[in-house]
Amino acid sequence: MASKVIHAIYNDDDILMQAVKEVRAEKYHIEEVYTPFPVHGLDKVMGLEPTRIAITSFMYGLVGLAVAITMMNFIMIEDWPQDIGGKPSFSYIENMPAFVPIMFELTVFFAAHLMVITFYMRSKLWPFKKAENPDVRTTDDHFLMAVDTGHHDAEEVANFLRGTGAIEISLIDKDEDH
């Protein structure tokens, strides 16, 4: 028999947090939690790995910085040497203060945009994508925890979840879900 998923719906984030802790303490497997807003500390309680987006952001920033330096060096020094601020030195390093705003802006630009794009790709989000959340109320004021029953008895898990404060429990066959 294919494993079943239980959808437990909560209506309060504090109760949800407590429930997540209890479920994990019972060693049940939480597939996913759907919330209408970011719940602080939920990732830690669920035991998710910390995000690595900051590292990508740093690298994108370095790319932006490199692009800015190369670009300004080509435009202002090599291709068409410019007299900057009445100091015609034609050297990048001596004119560097004038380029700092551009270097800064492109660092931020690259870091921000590429980080957003990375986030979308990593979360499998793109235009016209069909929403994944199983219950529309999770976009309003309800929280949904999807628990994989695995080899546990579905009824037993459902009862346990009811005890953690779930206001609604539904058993879903994994096959028909996908």
Binding site: G41, A54, F58, I84, G85, G86, K87, P97, A98, V100, P101
Partner: protein, 457 residues
Amino acid sequence: MYTLPSKLRLFAIVFMVIGAIGIVSGFLSAPSSTAEVKEMMAAHGDGHGAEASHGETNNSHGEAHNESEAASQAVPGEGQSEDAHGSEEEHLEHTLHQMQNRPWSALYIACFFFFMIALGCLAFYAIQFAAQAGWSPVLFRVMEAITAYLVPGGIIMFVLLAMSGVLHMNHIFVWNDAEVVAHDKLLQGKAGWLNGTAMLIRAAIFLGGWLLYRHFAVKFSRNSDNETDNRWFKKSFKISAGFLVFFIYTESMMSWDWLMSFDPHWFSTLYGWYVFAGMMVCAITTIAIITIYLKSKGYLEFVNDSHIHDLGKFMFGFSIFWTYLWFSQFMLIWYANIPEEVTYFVTRIEQFKLPFFGMVAMNFIFPVLLLMNSDYKRVNWFIVLTGIVILAGHYIDIFVMVMPGTVGNSWYIGIPELGALCFFFGLFIYVVFTALTKAPLLVKNNPFVKESKQYHY
């Protein structure tokens, strides 16, 4: 309750004594006549005529001589030999004044540096109340203790200003020299603001206002410990908001009077902000270091990683803010290249290259790289290490604000500077840690203290 360990008291006193010896020896070793200057220069192996062989790495007297020689050559009409002799005397006279200014400047810089830590801390403390911050009440007693230094620090600062501005015991403020002003149209125009008496009156108003707020803010905080309602908190909130308005005006004017006026021809409209940013970094760094120190001694058990993390974020943020202002000031003046403006940076880059750019590295690159990672802001020794570099960097920042205008080429970080630094460091430690013993280390009955204790990120 915190009790001052006798070891720490001894530590502070030793620093004060060593510092005082350094300060006194700095004053005693300053030359009193041009003959002595000549002797000192000869002793440095920097005799006249040999300056061409000296590189930039050697001491800067040779360069100064070159400059004055060049200046004298630019004046035509005078007899060549007489001119050369006159310029040498003039140069010796000039160097003498610089060297006489040095111990005063050293004292002034160190005095201001520790004073600004306390002042920045007071502003930070007021912001916590005005913003009704929920994370910080567990640190209030540390902040109150640091602001205690405002009293002795402010008094010494005032005495120093009185000695320089009104009593004419030194020449660190060039605009205060009647002879200079008589030949200087720009200074004559500014004399209505820049004169000894006016500066002292302003200083009294600034210091009076700050000390008044400090007195009542701390008093209300202590009163609140014995109450059950929010009466005192509300009062603190009101005076804090009022103080912040007063502070940002007076702090700006203070920076013109006490720092920018060392180069009285030059001015920058964001100077007040620039000084403020440096002040805040130093204050927050000091709060963090003292908090970590107290924690390591087993106090402040209610302060957790998240509080240190927040202080780290502030150190990081204000370091970047400081750099932003430093750069904004630098770039516009560098780009426009207007002679009367750019001279400020030309002097610093030509004569103070290492400290001038070195402190930018210490105050910007170092904290950015070390505190960028979120996890590092929770590692105590990282915060302390970065903090020490930041504090040293901002000392040098004040150094390059003051020294070019007072001692010019004759600068050096030697016994007078380090002595003054040690003395005020000792005094600061003594005053702050004595103040810590005056009240329980956790505020009671602050409406946010529970939130602060449970604060987690």
